[in-house]
């Protein structure tokens, strides 16, 4: 190929770019593809499987070959804009596209038929797949991850009455009609300018204007009067309920944007793309789609070659060839696969000096890059035509993807040899070339009608004006036959992006993969980045030939988003701190200032893990914090705890239903440890429920389940117990929870000058006032020590926390993090939902039967709980474990066996070194564990085994005297 510029580069707009190590002059703002073509670079890529040299085949997003790396990920060269200093390299090769080490694979092409990898590595007896998979994946992968952080991508929601996808003739006509009715109109267009095919054909006119001028003026006028026209914006998916996702690559420095557009009615005017023809070596650099060659000439002012040959099977292609010649590109021959050309078109060609070969089919491209095309006539007569570019037009593929994404149906059109939409679907109707109406006048009328209907559907009154009148472009796009000549043999490519040939498809059909979905998966046709846009119609045609069926009976594979490739960052977001919300308490700033190591914990909370002093590690810090709680006083921030207020005349009855623990007989000012069960009788959540007043409860849940408990409360009251009248409020955020615990807790609180009800008993709750604000203080905690929980309005927490710390200093107070809390609760054998309550255990398994009051008519989980009692054996039961070596901390999660070689009987749920117990301790869930008390068990570790003795699951103050004291 010998591409060149049709208009010379002006110095002011010239920049230097680098591609595969070559420095090239280019025009600022043009596509990298155009720049490469203009510099005569014919080989721009290597194919996916065989690493065959490949040139440009298409234009815009229709390019299957030219994937390049630009430092920001892999992108199509047709979508990369030339900027100063652009550096790009072909993606699927090493070191360069023009010389690729892996091209040796192409020599073995005959040995790599369809299903090669399955047959060789996964077939009967093939155990080699795990061995070869990494190497195959590396060899097949396109591109590398960019080293730089992903650029910002904006996500933006938008709403409109009528969304028009595509700003070609039909799309503009539709948008004008909807706009005239007063609809809020969105018009999205993937290209740089409105007009579509009008941009390529100066002979097409709308009204009295050149078509491209009409398109630009119409778009500008609509924008001025309130419509939204987004250029460089590709609609990538259509979903139920009028949602279309579109990806905008703005010109200039603005970040890319992923639009989520919700429209009352949609017009799909996505147009059509040209089908390649299938003949031997049709993938050689220099063989391109005719429409692409025309677009490069008309829009980028770049010629594909100096003497081209066109191969076509339809009348419209004649007009494109004539337009191309008028743009200044020399086309020497036109090969028409049909026998009797239209006389008017033939005359037009000969007037432009193009020699016509009617009734010939393409056989093979010659040379690499291409220097000739062999064609065959009906009688088997060959002709070899010298050329430096082959332009293919195998008919038109309507882009029905967006119609089909959300479930729109298709039918096969015998005239078009293609699939077209059947009617409107979910408020979306197709118009123009994607609807099988490609000729200009028909497209304008179709678009106008669709736009008017869409406005009506959106609740507006259609304006009623007439459709724009087009002239020119009358030749039919209907091909006389398919795009796969009988003579197609050898490496005649159907899917350029996935490297699938006509031979692969015929082989697959012979081997029985003769359903279109199986054919796709077996051969990978249609599975590459272009999602089969280029290949699928030809693949269906080949399968239909092989089965002796009609293409309409073969059908299509399923169309799925994204319609054009999207960068991951557009979907996943750039990440960083915003990717996942992180929750803070009003004390988080204090924890961070105090040097706490912060952990991500349940329900998105960021919590202090431990507070190391300088030079102190995790273990020493945890030991110090635990010691303070057991011997002096500790303070911790339990604010994330789930908290609810349940009030109203039926509050007690409601809680009796939701909880397995009776709460209706609780006296005001008292709390009770209570359990929620799943419907299947397993433990769901635990916490302390306080009764504030006869008709008012303050309910605490675990942190991680706070939202799940809220949902369950709502479900119970809205669905199961509509007979009960309650008020339900999640007050988790309202109340900070400061826990002061340890033998010196009382003195600390007194020294801080905080109110403390004198006779507050264990699990009692009283209200008092601190700094003019109501506070709830409870005798509760999770450490087994004398413990006071101050539920204070969240914004009052920092002041109260600081007062307590200052007062506690002379008592040896330490702030305590979640690591030390973990140790303290293991020592006491307190269960933790998520550790011991693992969704399998019921209350009895965890030794919590005392909290189940089953002598009541109904509560969630009761029926299952009673049934479970009939088979008490083989249940996982909570026990304690002493490792044989008291200095060895058993790993959490270790499997418990009765003896070496036994099956797994359970696992370690929590484990730590306990200073209070003077040794390592662990909790475990073991099958019938309580019956094993005093016996030895074996633990399977990553590197051997360890012995342990089963003991009661409490290692400190078993009678609970300290917390009640």
């Amino acid at each position: 190929m010998s591409g060149y510029r049709l208009s010379p580069l002006v110095p002011a707009e010239t920049v230097e770019i680098e591609f595969d190590g070559l420095r090239l002059p280019a025009r600022r703002g043009e596509s990298l593809a155009a720049a490469l073509m203009a510099n005569g670079i014919s080989t721009v890529a290597r194919s996916f499987k065989y690493h065959r040299p490949r040139g440009l085949l298409g234009f815009g997003s229709w390019e299957p070959n030219a994937a390049v790396e630009t430092g920001e990920g892999t992108e199509l060269a047709t979508n990369v804009r030339v900027t100063e200093g652009l550096r790009a390299r072909a993606a699927n090769c090493w070191p360069w596209a023009r010389f690729d080490v892996k091209s040796v694979l192409g020599a073995f092409g005959a040995l790599m038929p369809a299903g090669f990898y399955y047959k060789t590595f996964r077939g009967p007896g093939g155990r080699m797949w795990p061995l070869f998979e990494p190497a195959i994946r590396r060899a097949a992968g396109i591109g590398r991850l960019p080293a730089r952080a992903a650029p910002d991508t904006v996500k933006r929601n938008a709403h409109c009455d009528v969304l028009v996808v595509g700003a070609g003739a039909a799309g503009i006509a539709a948008a004008l009609a909807a706009h005239a009715s007063g609809a809020r109109v969105f018009l999205v267009e993937e290209g740089d300018a409105p007009g579509g095919r009008l941009l390529d054909r100066s002979d097409l006119r709308v009204g009295h204007e050149v078509g491209a001028v009409w398109a630009r003026r119409s778009a500008e006028e609509m924008t001025t009067s309130g419509a939204r026209v987004l250029l460089r914006t590709a609609a990538t998916g259509r979903y139920e309920g009028g949602l279309v996702v579109a990806y905008e690559r703005p010109a200039g420095d603005r970040p890319a944007c992923l639009w989520k557009i919700r429209a009352r009615a949609i017009v799909l005017a996505t147009g059509a793309i040209e089908r390649p023809l299938v003949f031997a070596d049709n993938d050689r650099p220099g063989v391109v789609l005719l429409a692409a060659a025309l677009a490069y000439a008309a829009r980028s002012r770049v010629a594909i070659g100096r003497h081209a040959v066109a191969v076509v099977n339809n009348d419209a292609a004649y007009e494109d060839v004539m337009a191309l010649v008028r743009e200044g590109v020399h086309v020497r021959h036109l090969v028409d696969m049909r026998g009797n050309p239209d006389a008017r078109l033939a005359a037009g060609l000969s007037g432009l000096g193009v020699e016509l070969h009617a009734g010939f089919a393409p056989v093979s491209a010659m040379g690499c890059p291409v220097y000739g095309l062999r064609i065959a006539g009906a009688g088997g007569a060959y002709r070899d035509l010298a050329c430096d570019a082959v332009l293919m037009s195998g008919g038109s593929t309507p882009l029905v993807h967006l119609h089909s994404h959300a479930g729109g149906r298709l039918r096969h059109s015998e005239e078009l040899h293609a699939f077209v939409p059947v009617g409107a679907h979910d408020g979306a109707r197709s118009a123009g070339a994607c609807n099988g109406r490609a000729e200009l006048a028909a497209a304008l009328a179709d678009g106008h009608a669709a736009g008017s209907l869409a406005a009506t559907e959106a609740g507006l009154v259609a304006h009623g004006g007439g459709a724009p009148v087009g002239s020119g472009g009358t030749a039919s796009v209907h091909p006389s036959a398919g795009a796969v000549p009988e003579v197609a043999r050898g490496k005649a490519f159907v899917d350029f992006a996935a490297d699938v040939t006509v031979a692969d498809l015929r082989l697959a059909a012979r081997e029985g993969y003769d359903s279109v979905e199986l054919l796709k998966r077996y051969t990978t046709t249609g599975m590459a980045v272009d999602q089969g846009r280029i290949a699928n119609l030809s693949a269906i045609e080949i399968l239909a030939q092989a089965r002796g069926a009609a293409p309409g009976d073969v059908g299509t594979t399923t169309y799925r988003p994204p319609f054009v490739p999207l960068p991951f960052v557009a979907i996943a977001d750039a990440g960083g701190a915003l990717l996942r919300p992180s929750r803070t308490t009003t004390l988080t700033a204090w924890h961070e200032a105090a040097g706490a190591v912060m952990y991500e914990s349940g329900a998105n909370w960021r919590r202090p893990g431990y507070y190391p002093r300088s030079g102190e590690g995790l273990e020493a810090a945890v030991r110090r914090e635990c010691r303070a709680v057991r011997q002096a006083v500790g303070i911790y921030d339990s604010s994330p705890l789930g908290k609810f207020e349940i009030s109203g005349p039926d509050a007690a009855a409601f809680l009796d239903f939701v909880y397995a623990t009776r709460l209706s007989d609780l006296a005001p000012g008292r709390g009770r440890y209570a359990l929620q069960l799943h419907e299947d009788g397993r433990l769901f959540d635990d916490g302390i429920v306080f009764r504030l007043a006869p008709d008012r409860y303050f309910v605490t849940t675990t942190t991680g389940n706070a939202d799940a408990c809220h949902q369950r409360f709502e479900y119970c009251r809205q669905v199961l117990r509509q007979d009960l009248s309650i008020g339900l409020l999640n007050v988790t955020e309202q109340w900070a929870d400061i826990v002061v615990c340890g033998p010196a807790a009382r003195q600390t609180i007194a020294d801080a000058g905080l109110p403390m009800p004198e006779r507050l008993a264990f699990l009692g709750m009283a209200t008092c006032r601190i700094a003019e604000r109501g506070v709830r203080v409870a005798r509760a905690g999770f450490t087994g020590e004398l413990s006071f929980e101050y539920f204070v309005p969240a914004n009052a927490a920092p002041e109260i926390w600081t007062r307590l710390l200052e007062a506690g200093r002379r008592h040896g107070i330490e702030p305590v993090g979640s690591e030390a809390n973990h140790v303290l609760r293991i020592e006491k054998g307190f269960i933790s939902v998520g550790h011991e309550a693992d969704g399998i255990c019921g209350p009895d398994d965890l030794g919590l039967s005392f909290a189940v009051h089953a002598d009541r008519p109904d509560f969630v989980g009761r029926q299952a709980l009673l049934r479970d009692r009939s088979s008490p054996h083989g249940r996982p039961q909570l026990v304690g474990l002493f490792a044989r070596d008291p200095g060895f901390v058993l790993p959490e999660g270790a499997a418990v066996l009765r003896t070496t070689g036994d099956r797994t009987r359970g696992y370690v749920t929590a484990s730590c070194h306990s200073e209070a117990a003077g040794r390592s301790v662990a909790l475990a869930l073991i099958e019938d564990g309580r019956s094993l008390s005093g016996q030895d068990v074996t633990l399977a570790l990553a590197d051997g085994t360890a012995g342990a003795r089963v003991v009661a699951p409490v290692f400190y103050d078993p009678r609970g005297e300290r917390q009640r004291g």
Binding site: V154, R156, A577, P581, E645, E714, L729, V731, A794
Partner: protein, 132 residues
Amino acid sequence: MADPCVTVRPIGPERIVAVFDTGRPGPDAAAIGPDTWLMIGGDADVAAGIDVSDSYAGFAVTGPSAADVFAQGIALDLDRAVAGFVARTRLGDVAVLLWRMPDGFVVRCERSYADWLAAWLARAVRLSAGGI
């Protein structure tokens, strides 16, 4: 903030009360559950409900581009958010309450998400600064 078209300002402490009522108890009341409403401001009668003043953090987002800032995370049709508009919705992964104001919007979230929401708003303002 960099964009003169949008200003983000945290709202100071304010009185917020949750009340249980079958009908909307006031023009600015926001529904946070079936029959459960948030009443904002000095008129809110604490005695009639439950004080949740510490539960929420709020930001006033004002200026001509305010709706564009929220469009980056909220799926509602904000063109139709006229005077009196109140909604409970999602902004990214966070539940928020949104009120239309004469000069923009007020957004409130649970207090624990305030830092995240402030950072989100700052980024959204920065990303919309180039115009859309």
